[in-house]
């Protein structure tokens, strides 16, 4: 434990401050081609007449790829976890979000690649897009996804993530007041200073060397291998230096397409997104819609929570079913609520697909829960710190998915927060620790949810 609490120099610190760190865009391989993409100009459209012949004939163009060049067109980001694939690497006959890639060009320089993209023929027929998750369930909403407007493949082919714990009807019958709230955090773009980038070099031995900015190197390696139909020993992935990711570079955004272009052209191929592409086409943190109704007593106990969550997945599933599952497990935040009725849907829209971002799935519900705790205190005329401390997770309490807490930090964190804000707590709260419930802090409604912390 020499490192914990010590102020150690960073292993890459000297490289960073001397400009020696080699990011993907800093790798120099002679003969590298530039890549540009034909992207969907529409939120939703069908298309045909995709014609790359003029682009392919242009001097300086070495490869053009479309869906026809992809050995395995659809491979899910979470195929390894049993979540089926829904997203083509390149659009085949329809586009579902503005900026979706349709075709790519690798050329001698950036200008030639851009001119070649302009020369690709396509006839789009725009459709009414679905951009608001609250409309997805309406009878007259556009049907935008092959599985319907929301993800239907949770365990047992359920179309939502459900949590049921205790008796929600009893909780609401016993409540003095119901406190409701709707929470709608917006999409957030990660904005890494280094945009999505990769460089793929075809080697003489038939292998591909992939320089990648991925945050998840082995994961990206698996995605590339699956789409290309190659064994892993044909890929050498060089990563580990990321110019900011924050979750957005868990997606394998450029590597697979660059690899296909490198195979087809026989040349090293680099694809570095422009800042505009990064903003418009890269995945974002999801927008969420959360409706919370809590059954509370006038002295500040939360007896039960009903919650409906709509998770905007954008045009395809990617990691969203996993994110929503995490969200559901954490939907009471840092507090113990014994009676629960949670329904969560992964909803498809014609927005860019959403993805991981710091605390994926959990930050949204933490925002909702913390705001709601203050709202409960406000409605009841109680101290917001004391309402939090009263309902705080304690050793032996259980989470929504019945994990027993053995080391919950709610009490020390809330007390530190009060201290930091110069709030003086009443003596019984100031003396509180995270230990097992007893006495006034173990009212009847919290008995049945308890578990033995030794059973963890």
């Amino acid at each position: 434990m020499k490192a914990v609490g010590a102020r150690l120099p960073r292993y890459d610190g000297i490289e960073h401050v001397t400009g020696r760190t080699q990011y993907v865009d800093d790798v120099r391989v002679p003969g590298t081609l530039w890549t540009k993409a034909l992207r969907s100009p529409a939120h939703s459209a069908t298309f045909d007449g995709l014609d790359t012949s003029k682009a392919e004939a242009m001097p300086g163009v070495h490869a053009v790829i479309t869906w026809k060049d992809v050995p395995l067109l659809e491979y899910g980001h979470l195929s390894a976890l049993g979540i089926p694939a829904d997203e083509p690497l390149l659009a085949k006959d329809e586009v579902r979000y503005k900026g979706q890639p349709i075709a790519l060009v690798a050329a001698e320089d950036e200008e030639t690649a851009m001119a070649a993209v302009e020369a690709i023929g396509i006839e789009l027929e725009e459709r009414e897009p679905l951009l608001d998750i609250r409309r997805a369930f309406d009878d007259d909403a556009p049907k935008i996804h092959q599985w319907g407007n929301w993800y239907p493949h949770f365990e047992g082919e359920m179309d939502c993530r459900q949590i049921r714990k205790g008796s929600i009807d009893d909780a609401f019958a016993q409540a003095d007041t119901i406190v409701q709230g709707v929470y709608r955090p917006a999409a957030i773009e990660h904005v890494p200073l280094e945009t999505q980038v990769s460089l793929v070099v075809p080697e003489a031995n038939g292998r591909l060397t992939i320089y990648s900015c991925t945050q998840a190197l082995y994961f990206s390696m698996g995605v590339v291998a699956a789409h290309l139909g190659l064994p892993l020993n044909k890929l050498k992935v060089v990563g580990g230096t990321v110019g900011g990711g924050f979750g957005g570079k868990v997606d394998t955004a450029t590597e697979t397409m660059c690899a296909l272009l490198a195979q087809k052209s026989g040349r090293p191929v680099k694809w570095r997104w422009t800042r505009e592409e990064e903003f418009l086409c890269s995945s974002t943190r999801a927008p969420w819609h959360m409706e919370v109704a809590d059954a509370v007593t006038k002295d500040g106990w939360i007896l039960g929570r009903k919650m409906l969550t709509l998770h905007d997945s954008g045009a395809y599933a990617r990691f969203s079913p996993y994110g929503l599952t995490k969200h559901s497990f954490h939907h009471t935040g840092a507090y113990t609520i014994p009676n629960l009725h949670f329904d969560g849907y992964v909803v498809f829209t014609n927005r860019v697909p959403t993805t991981a971002m710091r605390g994926f799935g959990v930050t949204s519900v933490s925002f909702a829960t913390e705001t709601h705790m203050s709202r409960i205190a406000d409605v009841l005329g109680l101290d917001p710190y004391e309402v939090r401390l009263k309902n705080a997770n304690r050793i032996g309490d259980t989470s929504p998915n019945r994990i027993v807490y053995t080391d919950p930090s709610t009490v020390p964190v809330v007390k530190a927060l009060a201290g930091g804000m110069d709030v003086e707590l009443a003596p019984e709260y100031a003396a509180m620790g995270p230990g097992q419930r007893e006495g006034d802090l173990l009212p009847e409604h919290l008995v049945a949810q308890l578990a033995d912390p030794e059973d963890h």
């Binding site: 401050v17 009490v411 995270p434």
Partner: protein, 170 residues
């Protein structure tokens, strides 16, 4: 076209309207200035032109013909770090490192023109630079330390004033 970059003079073959960023990165292979946005918005391509910080991505080569350019490679070496480089190391002011070159060049110019450790003045001087990792506090701490003339022991790093110890409260 000619440039003197980090003390070495170069005859260049890039066209006059090539950006200084492309000349440095693609013709000369000097890669510390980054193409973060290529629109002058993020500051990661900043270099010193005759001592003044400039956005290399917006600067045509013809506009700086004959100038002296300094990049981070010219500030110091791993064996002999400049004061700004030492401060950024000591204060954990670089996280992913991608904005760091531009930040350090702006810091170098700020200190060279006699900037003080006043945090608002430092914020003003670094105002054109985006960082998505550090939250800026450590970067400002580092620049203030250089402005004060602090010395640095690089076998350790500095404690952060912003850290809260939760250890003793439970």
């Amino acid at each position: 076209m000619k440039l003197t970059v980090n003390g070495i003079s170069h005859e260049l073959t890039s066209p006059p309207l090539a950006t200084l960023l492309d000349v440095l990165r693609e013709e000369l292979g000097i890669t510390s200035p980054k193409a973060g946005c290529e629109q002058g918005g993020c500051g990661s391509c900043t270099v010193l032109v005759d001592g003044e910080p400039q956005r290399a991505c917006l600067t045509p080569l013809a506009a700086v013909d004959g100038s002296e350019v300094t990049t981070v490679e010219g500030l110091g070496s791993p064996e002999e770090l400049s004061a700004v480089q030492q401060a950024f190391t000591h204060h954990y002011a670089a996280q992913c490192g991608f904005c760091t070159s531009g930040m350090m060049i702006a810091a170098e110019a700020y200190v060279a023109r006699g900037g003080t450790d006043d945090h608002e003045a430092i914020q003003e001087a670094l105002g054109g630079h985006v960082c998505r990792c550090t939250g800026y506090v450590k970067i400002i701490d580092a620049v203030a330390a250089v402005a004060r003339g602090d010395s640095f022991d690089l076998t350790t790093t500095a404690p952060s004033a912003g850290m809260t110890n939760l250890g003793g409260v439970s």
